[in-house]
């Protein structure tokens, strides 16, 4: 044991005030829903945090009507610069209440406080700042001289980055003049409900943002509501396909941000220490609950032993445990269901003959936990090389030539992200140009910025979020307009 064991450094939860129950945020007010309530928990301890209303189809109808009214009477008539002011105001309030958001996110999601504090919350505020600037400059975005909003947008977001995904959705929608009905993920509603309070604090006109909590049925009611003009969804490919089938034949627009099985390609001339950090960040960031995770590691065969030795050494230093401790690197799995899915796929890896190695660590007895794990000896034919695990499990494969690396990286139904590690600029560009992935990171991984478009090829989704490309998804262009 190291003589320099870090003493517990827990973030205080005193800053958050969690109500014993929450209603639905419709037309600027919290109301009791027509549906039943369900419990939301802290996945690190299984402690019940609050009771959440399950939105019914009647509630969704109420929310869509509020959004339509706000769109027709207020938001579409407001000068664009005024819209921008609201976004700036929201962004500033999010920064002022950053600690509150970070603590609440960690409590409800299980991610380490270091990540929610240093990544999720600052990026979420940055998305509002960035889009606030666009609000009165849309005619200069290269999307036609007078691009028009869709109207009422239905948005469904996942549990892996609850607040950040909310801001990826809500900020561009509001900046472009749409009004919103948002359904947060079933297991992580709390920061969205705090965001509802921020909307009130910012004086946002009632009905511009409506938040209806619930599970799959609530989301389905939102997708099928006839008065919703556009659907924006982030989540699994399975649900994404169901949404696509549902809206076929309607006039609804749709953007989908779905699953991935990102390849992280390590060439033999890679900057080795930083590559190891990048591999760790690629798959163990946010417990691997990242759609663009670098979950397939492709190592050039002539250096693969050295890379793996360094990787195991680095992984043995990961600090797994209490997400509220400021020194924790890897937190809790978000739900029992997700833990079951990870365990099932990892067992398939064992059965198919891959070799498992995990960070030696003591896992807490309460809550949902999975030790950071790598599988070596994985081939393209293994399930763990093909299916999205969405957990802290890395599949390691090797390649011999750059062409083989490209072939293997692209040999997947997904196409969301990829990473390339090499000290040679020409090889980096050559590789990036051939990867069929929406985002290619060079000598880094899991970096996000509101100015940079994000989205997938193939089964990883339709459309882009962020940057100028992301604005296009919320504006009618050409014949649509």
């Amino acid at each position: 044991m190291s003589p320099f064991e870090y003493a517990p450094a827990p973030e205080s939860r005193a800053i958050v005030d969690i109500a014993s129950s929450y209603g639905l945020f419709i037309n600027g007010e919290f109301i009791n829903g027509a549906g039943t309530a369900y419990k939301t928990i802290n996945p690190a301890t299984e402690e019940v945090l609050s009771e959440i209303a399950e939105g019914s189809s009647a509630d969704i109808d109420l929310a869509v009507k509020a959004a339509r009214r706000a769109y027709a009477k207020v938001w579409s008539k407001m000068p664009a610069a005024e819209r921008g002011k609201y976004l700036y105001r929201i962004a500033r309030i999010m920064q002022e209440r950053a600690r509150e958001f970070a603590v609440l996110e960690t409590l409800n999601n299980g991610k380490p406080i270091r990540e929610s504090r240093d990544i999720d919350v600052p990026l979420a505020a940055a998305h509002f700042f960035y889009h606030a600037g666009w609000a009165d400059k849309l005619e200069h975005a290269g999307l036609g001289s007078a691009p028009k909003p869709h109207g009422v947008v239905g948005q469904i977001i996942p549990w892996n980055f609850p607040l950040l995904m909310l801001s990826w959705k809500v900020a561009p929608a509001l900046a472009t003049g749409n009004t919103v009905v948002l359904k947060p993920a079933e297991t992580t509603p709390l920061t969205a409900l705090l965001f509802a309070d921020v909307c009130r604090q910012a004086g946002l006109p009632p009905g511009v943002v409506n938040i209806v909590t619930g599970a799959g049925a609530t989301g389905a009611a939102l997708v099928s509501h006839p008065d919703v003009n556009k659907i924006a969804f982030t989540g699994s490919t399975k649900v994404g396909k169901a949404i696509a089938r549902e809206i076929v034949g309607t006039k609804k627009s749709v953007t989908l941000e779905l699953g991935g099985k990102g390849a992280n390609i390590v060439f033999d001339d890679a900057p080795m220490d930083e590559t190891i950090e990048g591999i760790v960040n690629g798959i163990f960031f946010n417990q691997g609950h990242v759609c663009c995770a670098g979950s397939r590691l492709l190592i050039q065969e002539n250096v693969h032993e050295e890379v793996l030795e360094r990787l195991r050494h680095r992984m043995s230093q990961l600090r797994v445990g209490d997400p509220m401790d400021k020194n924790t690197d890897v937190g809790a799995i978000n739900s029992a269901a997700q833990l079951g899915r990870i365990t099932e796929l990892a067992t398939a890896g064992d059965n198919e003959g891959a070799q498992r190695w995990s960070t030696p660590c003591d896992l807490p007895t309460k809550g949902f936990w999975y030790a950071p794990t790598i599988f070596t000896g994985v081939t393209q034919a293994h399930r763990i090389a093909r299916e999205e695990i969405f957990g802290p499990v890395l599949s390691v494969l090797t390649f011999r030539t750059p062409a083989e690396a490209i072939e293997k990286a692209n040999n997947t139904p997904y196409g969301l992200s990829a990473g390339v590690w090499t000290d040679k600029g020409s090889r980096l560009l050559w590789t990036a140009a051939r990867l069929r992935a929406g985002v290619v990171w060079g000598n880094t991984f899991n970096r996000f910025d509101p100015t940079s478009p994000f989205g997938g090829y193939k089964e990883s989704g339709w459309g882009r979020e962020g940057g100028r490309h992301g604005l296009a998804a919320y504006l009618k262009q050409g014949e649509q307009a």
Partner: protein
Amino acid sequence: MSAILTRTALLRSTDHDAIKQFVLALPAVDQVGAEGRAAMLATRSIKTSSKVYAIDKAISMIDLTTLEGADTQGKVRALCAKAVRPDPTDSTAPSVAAVCVYNDLVGIAREHLDSIGGQNVAVAAVTTAFPSGRASMAVKLQDTRDAISAGASEIDMVIDRGAFLSGNYGKVFDEISAIKEVCGDGEKRAHLKVILETGELVTYDNVRRASWLAMLAGADFIKTSTGKISPAATPPVVLVMLESVRDFYAKTGTRVGVKAAGGIRTAKDAIKQLVLVNETTGSDWLDPTLFRIGASALLNDLLLQRQKLSTGHYSGPNYVTLD
């Protein structure tokens, strides 16, 4: 990894071409990645019992330094007294590792330390025409011999940055080897710290190359800076040097120390350095024989924090002694 090799077996030959080939084949450092890793480790939150440990550990790792033209015997005596007993009101505060002075003040430092019970505090001398290193080899060797005969048990030499930057790695290697020879061998040798002056090498690739050159030529320690050039011991520079000693140990079984010198002024900075050590080389290096901090003002901030931890409140600058 490959089998353990001796320091000399790693280099097939000390021929200048072979040295250059070796150094240029080292893995690259990605600047953004290295700085990102150092920044992430800077967020570690060291509290309560671990803070107590870190503060005393940091004090025991200090090379308490004065390297001014205005240094006098009186100034050096005062420094020695502080080195042995940093906090006159609290005898539980550990002594520092060494005092670090110019060549001509080594004798008085050793004599005074011995006379006040500071036999366990080493005297380190900066030599080889410190800080620029611009002198003939004969002068650099004599500079080092002088320091050792006056009682220095640690030699802080500078490398020839001009030779390094012009690609003459062989010359740098030969100079370090020659000084190492003067320092002697075995238990009683003078410990050799090789100052890379990373602020003049500028890139992290250069820091890694210079680290390996020094280790291959026999350095006991690799040291960031003279303290005369800024930037000095920045966290990413120390990180890259720690990675180098970690890799060198894996290949040779020899543990080389790291000395971070220059720009570390607060207890917080020092604790960040200890976190870098803990999470890069591992805790074996959390020892004055393998990690040092070259500083002067730092000691007082560590003492203030130490008093705060034991009494529960902050005192002020009048409750710690002037150097």
